[in-house]
C-alpha cells in the first residue's frame, strides 16, 4: 500500500502542497505558475468548457414587480429586473416554473432543501433526512469530475441554522443546504472566502513531493482504519463511515490531480501576480461577503478550477437586516411577509432588486473575461432564483428564475420565456444538464426538457 506511492509516483507531489517554510497548508489544487505549454496544447484541441452556477436567495419575490408582462424578445424590464440593463440580451427570464413536490410540507424547509433536487423532502427532525434526490449541481459535478481540480464548489455566507423546528417537524438544516451529493447527504458549504481561495490556489509555489507522499500514506492509513472498522459497526453507523470513506477518497483524488502530468482539456493562463492580487480579504459586511463570494465563482471558472458551483446568498428564513438598501427598514423574512401592505411591499421589492443588482454584477464580470472569440459568460449558465414565489404566500409555483449566459452558445438569451401551466422547474435542469453534456431521461419531477430554451 505504502510502496505504491513511494515507487510509482514519478512526480513529487510535495511541491504542490507545501508553502515555503510554513507548516503544511491544505493541498493546493494547482500550482500558481501557469503551465503555459500545456495550456496552449489544450486550447488548440478543445474549446472552452461550459460552466454552471446555481445561486439561491431566500424568501421569494414580489411577483408584480418581477415578472415581465410581455414574453419573447420585447419583454420590458420590470422594476426588480431593471438592474439587468444591457445584460438583458445575455439573460433568459423564466416564469411559470413550478416545484410540485413543494406544495405540501412546510413553508420554507420543504422548499429549499429540494430547490435543486425537485423531489419531496422527508418530513423529519433528524432521523432519515432526505432531500428526495441528488441535486442538479452535484449530478453535473459527478460527470465533470476529473476534468478539473475540484468537481464543484459549494458556497454560502451563513453557518448552518441550528436546531429543529418542532412545530412543523423539520430539522432546520434543510434550510441551509441546496447541494445534495445523494438524497441523504447534504454537502457542507464553505462560508469563509479566504478558505475558498486557499482551497483553490494554495499558499505558495514551492512545495515538496515527499510531503505529498506523506499525506497520501497518511490517508491510506486512515482509509484502512475506516475499512476495518466499518463491518464492526451497526447498519446505520456504517452509512456514516461511508461518508467518511468517500470524503477521504475525494481528498486523495485532489492530491492525485495536483500531481498529474497530462495536459488538461482546458487550461487558461492567469498571471500569478493577478491571481495573488485577487486573494480575498475578510468581508466587513454582508454586501462585501456576497461580492467576494461571487468574485471567487468568477475566478474558479476563469481558471477552470471547477465548472460547477452553488451559492446560497443566505439560509432560508433569513431575517438579515436589509436597512443598508435605500428605502428599506427591516429584516428580509419580516418584510417578505408583507401582508399586502404597500409600504412593506415596496421595501420587499427593493430587497429583490438589490439581489438582481448582485446577479448583474456577477454577469458583468463574467462577460468581461474573453475566452477566444467568446466570453466566460457566453460559456456559462448562471441560474439565479428562489424556492418560492411570493414570500407572503410561500407558493412554490411561478418561481422567480433567471438564467444568465449562453451555455456555450446553445441557449438563446434575451427573452422572457413564460411556461404555461405548471411546468416543472426540473425541466430547466434537464436542459441545463444536456448543455453540460449530461444525458438524462428525467430529473426530479421533470416531464422533459424545457420547451423553447
Amino acid at each position: 500500500m505504502n510502496e505504491r506511492h513511494l515507487l510509482s509516483q514519478p512526480l513529487s507531489r510535495r511541491k504542490f502542497l507545501r508553502g515555503a517554510g510554513v507548516a503544511l497548508a491544505l493541498p493546493a489544487l494547482q500550482s500558481v505558475a501557469p503551465r503555459q505549454a500545456r495550456a496552449e496544447a489544450a486550447a488548440a484541441t478543445s474549446g472552452a468548457p461550459v460552466r454552471a452556477a446555481f445561486i439561491y436567495f431566500p424568501n421569494g419575490v414580489w411577483e408584480k414587480a418581477w415578472v415581465p408582462e410581455k414574453t419573447g424578445r420585447d419583454y420590458e424590464l420590470t422594476p426588480s429586473l431593471e438592474p439587468l440593463g444591457e445584460l438583458r440580451s445575455d439573460v433568459l427570464v423564466l416564469s411559470g416554473l413550478d416545484k410540485k413536490n413543494s406544495h405540501g410540507g412546510d413553508g420554507h424547509y420543504a422548499k429549499t432543501a429540494n430547490f435543486l433536487t425537485g423531489m419531496p423532502v422527508a418530513k423529519t427532525t433528524g432521523k432519515d433526512i432526505s432531500s428526495g434526490g441528488i441535486s442538479v449541481d452535484q449530478l453535473m459535478a459527478q460527470h465533470v469530475s476529473g476534468l478539473t481540480p475540484l468537481p464543484s464548489l459549494e458556497l454560502g455566507t451563513e453557518p448552518v441554522i441550528s436546531g429543529i423546528d418542532s412545530n412543523v417537524g423539520y430539522t432546520r438544516l434543510y434550510g441551509s443546504h441546496i447541494s445534495w451529493q445523494s438524497p441523504t447527504r447534504p454537502v457542507a458549504k464553505e462560508i469563509n472566502p479566504r478558505l475558498v481561495y486557499q482551497r483553490l490556489f494554495g499558499r505558495g509555489t514551492h512545495s515538496s513531493s515527499a510531503q505529498a507522499e506523506s499525506y497520501q500514506n497518511l490517508l491510506d492509513f486512515v482509509l484502512e482504519d475506516a475499512r476495518q472498522l466499518r463491518p464492526r459497526l451497526g447498519r446505520d453507523d456504517q452509512f456514516k463511515m461511508d461518508e467518511y470513506l468517500d470524503s477521504v477518497r475525494a481528498v486523495e483524488k485532489r492530491i492525485e490531480y495536483a500531481t498529474r502530468q497530462e495536459p488538461r482539456e482546458w487550461e487558461p493562463t492567469l498571471d500569478p501576480a493577478e491571481l495573488a492580487s485577487r486573494q480575498p480579504g475578510i468581508p466587513r459586511d454582508f454586501r462585501e461577503h456576497i461580492e467576494i463570494m461571487m468574485d471567487l465563482i468568477v475566478l474558479s471558472f476563469q481558471t477552470d478550477s471547477t465548472r460547477v458551483c452553488s451559492l446560497m446568498f443566505a439560509n432560508d428564513v433569513s431575517g438579515r437586516n436589509f436597512s443598508f438598501v435605500d428605502g428599506v427598514r427591516g429584516g428580509h423574512h419580516e418584510l417578505s411577509h408583507h401582508e399586502n401592505k404597500e409600504e412593506k411591499i415596496d421595501q420587499y421589492q427593493r430587497i429583490n432588486r438589490w439581489h438582481v443588482e448582485q446577479f448583474a454584477r456577477l454577469l458583468n464580470k463574467l462577460k468581461s473575461i474573453q475566452e477566444g472569440e467568446s466570453t466566460l459568460l457566453d460559456n456559462s449558465m448562471i441560474l439565479f432564483g428562489s424556492s418560492m414565489s411570493d414570500g407572503n404566500r410561500h407558493d412554490p409555483d411561478n418561481l422567480p428564475i433567471l438564467l444568465g449566459g449562453r451555455g456555450g452558445g446553445t441557449i438563446e438569451t434575451g427573452r422572457h420565456l413564460a411556461a404555461e401551466g405548471q411546468v416543472p422547474l426540473c425541466n430547466l435542469y434537464v436542459s441545463m444538464l444536456d448543455r453540460m453534456g449530461v444525458e438524462v431521461e428525467a430529473f426530479g419531477d421533470s416531464t422533459g426538457p424545457l420547451a423553447g430554451v
Partner: protein, 650 residues
Amino acid sequence: MLTRLSPAVCCRLLLSPFLLVLLFVAAAFSAAAAEEAEQKLAAWKAMYQDKIHPIIESRCLECHRGEEAEGEFDLAPFVDGDSAAAQMDLWDRVAKRIRLNEMPPEGSPQLTDPQKSDFYRWIDSRPEQDLCNQLATDETQAWYRGHVMSRRLTRTEYTNAIRDLLSLELPAGVELPSDGGGGEGFDTTGDALFTSAIHVESYLAAADRLIEQAALDIATPSESLSEREAASQTLRQFARRAWRRPPQDAEIERLLVLFETERAAGANFVAAVRQPLKAILVSPHFLFVVESEPEEGGVQRLTPHQLAMRLSLFIWSSIPDEALLAAANSEEIYTPEGLRKQVRRMLADPRARALGENFGLQWLGLSNLATTATPDSELYPEFSSQLASDMREEAVRLVAGVFREDRPLLELIDADYVHANGTLAKHYQLDVPADAPWQRVALESRRRGGVITLGAVLTASSYPRRTSPVLRGRWILEEVLGSRVPPPPPGVPALEEAHEEGKKLSLRERLEVHRANPECASCHNRMDPLGFGLENFDAIGRWRTEDDGFPIDAAGKLPSGEAFSGPEELKQVLLRRQDEFQRHFIRKLLGFALGRGLNKFDDCVITDSLEALEANEMRAAVLIETIAASYPFQHRYFKAAAADPSAAAR
C-alpha cells in the same frame, strides 16, 4: 374556544347546570377531532390502494413475497389500505430502505421518480398513530434501531478534544463547517451529522500543523531503547488518550509502518514519529464516537470506555481525561458510586462550562447569535459584536453555573442575580464598575435574572428595528414551556393592521387588531401576552418605559385567565407552570445526552429525573447523574452487521 374560559369561570360552571353544556361541548370537540383523524386515515388508505400498492406489486413482491421472502420481509399481505394501516411501523422501514436507495437493490427495476414522489408523499401524510396500543411489539423494543450512534464528533467536540489533548487551539486558517441539529434539536444527533470532503481537508490540515506545534511527549531512543521501541511507546500513549481506549498491538504495528516509511525516506526520528501521530488524529477512531458491535446482537451495555466517552461528551463536550479513562479501565465507572463520583468531579472541572456553551446555547437557540441577531445600527448604535459576545457569555454562565454549582433548577426561570461584566452591567444599568470582570451581580429587583430576560434572548427574539411580542411569546412557549406553536395555516387572509385615519397605533394596539381575527387568535392568545410581559425590554435588551412615544404597557392576560404585568409577574406565571418547564428541560437535556430523538421509552428517564430533582431540593446536578445512570444512556441496541458485499467491493 374552551381554552378561553378562565379558571374562575370554570369553577362557577362546575356548580351550575352549565356543566352539562360544557361536557357536551367538550365531547363535540373531541368528536370533531376524531372525525378529522378518521378522514386523514381514510385518505391515506385510499392512496395506498391507488398509488402505492401497484408500486409494491411491480417493484417489491418479486422478492418480498410469501414465506421465502427476502430478509424475511413479506409484503404480500398488504393488499389494501386496511392491511397497510394495520402495521404502520413497518412502512418506516420500507421508506428508509427506499430513501437510502437500498431498495429495490441494484439490478432490479428501480422506482421511477414519480413513483418515489408518490411513495414519499404517502409516507409523510401518514396520520399519527396510537402508540400505546403497540407497546409490546419487537419493533418498539428496539428503540435504538435506525439511529446513528457511532457518529462523528461535532465541530465543538472536535475543537474541545484538540484543546484537551494537545493544549492547543485550532490553527489559524483551519475552520470546520458548522453542524446542523436533529433529534431533540441538538448537533449531537448522529442522524444529522454529515461528513464532506471539506471536513477531511480540515482534519488533515489541522493534524498536520497541530502535531508540528504541540509540545508532545516523544520518547527518546537510547542504548536501552531502540528507535522502534521509542516510537511504539510514544504512539501507544498518544493513541490511548486520542482514541479513548488502550490501542491494540496490531494498530500500533500499522502505525509503526508509517513511522518506518518516513524514516526510510530520510526523515529524522522526531519527524518520522510525527507522521503516525498525525494519522491518529485523522483516524476515525479519533473523529468518531466508535461504539462497535459485540458479537451477540440485541440490547447490550456499553463497554466502560464507550460509557466514559458518552459521559465526557455529555458533560464536557470533549474526550475523557486520564482520571475518567482510569475509571473505565478499572470498571469503577460501572458502579453507581463510581459513576456518581466521576459526574461530580467532572461538573467541578472547568470543562463543564460546555454544559452552558454547548447544551445551553443550543437549547436557548443562541448558537448562531452573531448571524441571527442583527439590530439596526441606525436605531441601536450601541449594539456591537462585543456586546453580542458578552450577552452570549452571560447565557453560557447562567446555564453552566446552575449545574456546576448545583443550584436550584428554577433559577433558570427566576434568579436574584445575573452574570455580567462591566460592559454588560452598564447595558443593564447595574451598579458595577465599567472595567469589572465577570461576576455574579445581585439584583435589587427581579426584573432580570433567568433565561427569559437574558440580553441574548431578548435581542434574538426581536426584529432589527423593533421588539416582537409575538416572537418573544413564541420563544417562551417553545423553549421554556415546551409547547408547540403551529405556523399560520395556509390560506389565512393577510393580516390587516390597518388603523383609523390619522391615528397612530402602538405596537400593542396593532397586535390587538391581529388577535381580533379568530383564526389568528387561537395561537396568538397564547403567545402575545407572554411577549407583552417583556415589553419593558427594548430590541437589544435594555430597560425602557416608553416606546415610540407611547408608555410601555407590559400587561398580559393568558387564555387561562391569568393576568400579569411586567417581567417579575410574568416569571411568577412561569413558575406556576414549572412542571411543564422541568419536563421540557429534562427532555432537552436527555436528547442532547443521547444524541437522538426521544421516544416513549425514554419517558421513564424523564420521570426518574423529575423525582430525583424533587428529592434533591430541586438542585440541578442530580439531573446529570440520573441521566448518566439511566438505562438508555448506558445501553444501546446492537445488531450484528450482516456481511456486506458492497463494502468488500470498495
